[in-house]
């Protein structure tokens, strides 16, 4: 056998998610309880293929990192968790810029719909809208829970920042559903800024759910300074 071997893999599904841009996606799955939908694609969109999956509360999604620049692979990366200063080996991180752009997320499976195609309703995904899915597997606690695992520089959940609404944004928020408000706060609480950016006076903008949200982050936490609805249908 000769190496490197090369493998050709199909997308078996596609993600529909409120994250329309890479900026701001929570850096680990499960940290924010964002809802999303995986739609199986033909010829894989057959109800039989997910028979019995509804008996599992969580599933693994193996996917292709989507919407990232196709910059070349580098052996060392700067993980956000280390403040973006220290360099660490790409295989010691879950960085999107890796030799094969494969992502891995465990998500909660809420519902399966097989009426029109096959749709998996999930929650807790850190997946960009349009992400191609390579595989879906059940989460098996007896194999996947390593209770005593030691995790180098990323032992703990990132700290949640306090989120407050500026009065003008709060007025708009009156008309926004509780679910959407919670999602916006979830995303901002885990500091969506790129790791190397720490400018307390700068106003950042990002698209969350159906809204453009403007915010800034200082030592007191996150302040939402503006929010407006985006005119586009998303699920």
């Amino acid at each position: 056998m000769t190496f490197p071997q090369n493998f050709s893999l199909d997308a078996i599904g596609v993600v529909h998610s409120p994250f329309k841009e890479k900026f701001g996606i929570p850096r680990q799955p499960g940290l924010a309880q964002t809802p999303a939908v995986i739609e199986l694609l033909p010829p894989y969109a057959v109800a039989d293929a997910v028979k019995g999956l509804d008996t599992f509360s969580h599933i693994w999604i193996t996917f292709i990192f989507h919407g990232i620049s196709t910059q070349e692979w580098k052996p060392l990366v700067r993980p956000p968790r280390l403040g973006g200063n220290e360099k660490i080996g790409v295989f010691a991180t879950r960085s999107t810029h890796r030799p094969n752009p494969i992502g891995l997320s465990v998500v909660r499976l809420e519902k399966i719909e097989i009426a029109q195609g096959v749709k998996l309703y999930i929650r807790g995904a850190d997946l960009l809208d349009g992400t191609p899915v390579l595989d879906i597997k059940p989460y098996l606690p007896y194999a996947d829970v390593i209770a005593d695992a030691r995790a180098g520089f990323a032992q703990k959940l990132p700290e949640r920042l306090r989120v407050r609404w500026h009065s003008s944004a709060r007025d708009v928020a009156q008309d926004i559903s509780t679910d959407s408000c919670a999602m916006i706060e979830d995303v901002l609480a885990f500091d969506p800024r790129p790791a190397y950016q720490d400018e307390p006076l700068r106003i950042y903008g990002m698209h969350i759910d159906k809204y453009n949200v403007r915010f800034r982050i200082d030592e007191h936490g996150v302040e939402i300074v503006g929010i407006e609805a985006v005119i586009s249908e998303i699920r």
Copy 2:
């Protein structure tokens, strides 16, 4: 964007393992504490790429199922855990026969060697010798441990069978290292037979570590009836 999309991925490493044949590989990682080595392949075999990985006790291996027949994908499979009779959706199982032959295993990382190439010494792998590796990621307890996950038909660890040695095999075992004996017992204790086979009188043969092992399984457990060394160098 048009679907199905197709992705071309490289093997970044290859597994050296005592499992030379598919038959008998423990059906879930971590169930048997078998040692194995992942050797990174050029151009990925650079020490920098694993810098910091040694601070993690466990890693995820994303790999290509190796040595399986290239039979066509089917929506329904018969998982061994259901006795091989009930059919279930392929995405509700970790079956090797899936649309994309991607495997996922969490293994213990014991040691990293960067003197000659890059080698990761692991334990608890269910990986066939020669398995192509697509990706290595750290196991992150705060994201990957779902303590309250519910797992359909595969809630619990498969039951361990009692393993005994027939007197003639036990004589030979005197000359075998304790490590090898333990590995052989580990593999057999989880019943390596294909799910649809349950013939108490039949003698099965399999290659474990450096040995050909003959055994049979009845209601009292596993009996090792013969063992001989295989003349071949591994790893």
